[in-house]
Assembly symmetry: C2
Homo-oligomer: 206 residues x 2
DNA sequence: GTCTATACGCGGATAGAC
DNA sequence: GTCTATCCGCGTATAGAC
């Protein structure tokens, strides 16, 4: 075997482990998850999993890190130059896409927060707080310019986050209520349109 | 000791156990929770906890049941006779109050759904599905009468659920972002007003 | 690098003393 | 009814064979 091939196996195995771990952590939480289950789901011996990641804590950190990376990339951005209408259309659309295409990332994140954000306190205190502050300022500028109704920007941010993430986190409940097995590709557009239009009306934009 | 006093102890102990269990299940999930932790939090020996509830599964069921009861009571109702404006004001107000005053109930419920609703599939399939169907019909009637804008009622229901519950489930994140230790009583009113007004505008009611 | 075998502790549950 | 002592299995992690 060449080094290249071994490196390939390493990468492939780590990838399989992280995907398996994501499922296991969602199903059973950090403490309830077992390395054995992760190994079984990944189709590898338990010892290999621990060889690659040393211990359970490290696996979880790796899963969380990928989740945050995804948030960072997929989220798009809110910039002043877009104006309120386009900015909100872009942002809501990106968030809804994320929820439907990567519900597991959203679920891992939600569980971590509900359980007290033990592993994400620092992320919230620094990155997230700054993000909210920055975007609030942009919304406030638009409010001052009379381009949207006068609301607390932070309430708006929470409303957008919650109403979009709901389709990922509460997927099981939504599908059960609607008596369906899976989301369809059409759902993304339907929800995006509903939320975008609803929010724009709520802000009296156009 | 009289029977009465013993009954009192029984009730008090069960109450302490259920409150402790709620915290433990939120922090560590069903599988990660330990009977020993619940006992410690309740200030009772582990054997007593198992004496009252037989096993961990039963404790969890009891906690879930209380959560659903609370949902049932606290949620208020949406009735045709109120008309869309009053109905939404009442409903949003009740949901926000619940989120701020009983965040733990909301968190237990959210975790259960995120993890796949193993213990609540039946509740969703029967009770919840019917609830959504009934309320959708009421909204549809108001739509047909031109008293609110034409949207999919189910999207509206999900938006109200998610935007109100967010303040309970994501409490930790919200407080961290806002750099505060706890919610204040004023927050309930502020959030209620924001969400109510926003949603009424989104539906073009008034 | 990969896997088997095992040490060691924790957790659920019960038996039985008080 | 209440609590102590204990059983037994599972889970993490590692030692060491291959």
């Amino acid at each position: 075997m060449t080094d290249k091939k071994q490196g390939q196996i390493r990468i492939k195995s780590q990838e399989k482990i992280l995907l398996a771990a994501q499922d296991e952590f969602i199903s059973n939480g950090y403490k309830g998850a077992t390395v054995q289950s992760i190994a079984d789901l990944a189709g590898l011996p338990k010892a290999n999993v621990l060889y690659y990641f040393k211990n359970k804590e490290n696996i979880y950190h790796a899963v969380l890190e990928r989740t945050l990376d995804m948030w960072d990339q997929g989220i798009g951005d809110i910039v002043y130059e877009d104006g309120p209408k386009v900015a909100i259309e872009k942002f809501v659309s990106a968030k809804v896409k994320m929820s439907f295409h990567h519900p597991k990332a959203s679920k891992i994140y939600a569980m971590e927060i509900i359980q007290g954000a033990q592993h994400l306190k620092e992320f919230a205190r620094t990155y997230l707080r700054k993000w909210v502050r920055d975007k609030s300022k942009i919304f406030q500028r638009w409010i001052d310019e009379g381009r949207m109704i006068n609301i607390e920007p932070i309430n708006l941010i929470f409303l957008i986050w919650s109403s979009t993430q709901h389709y990922a986190d509460f997927e099981t409940q939504i599908l059960t209520i609607m008596n369906r097995a899976d989301y369809e590709e059409d759902d993304v557009e339907q929800v995006t349109d509903f939320l975008t239009q609803f929010i724009l009306r709520g802000l009296e934009i156009q």
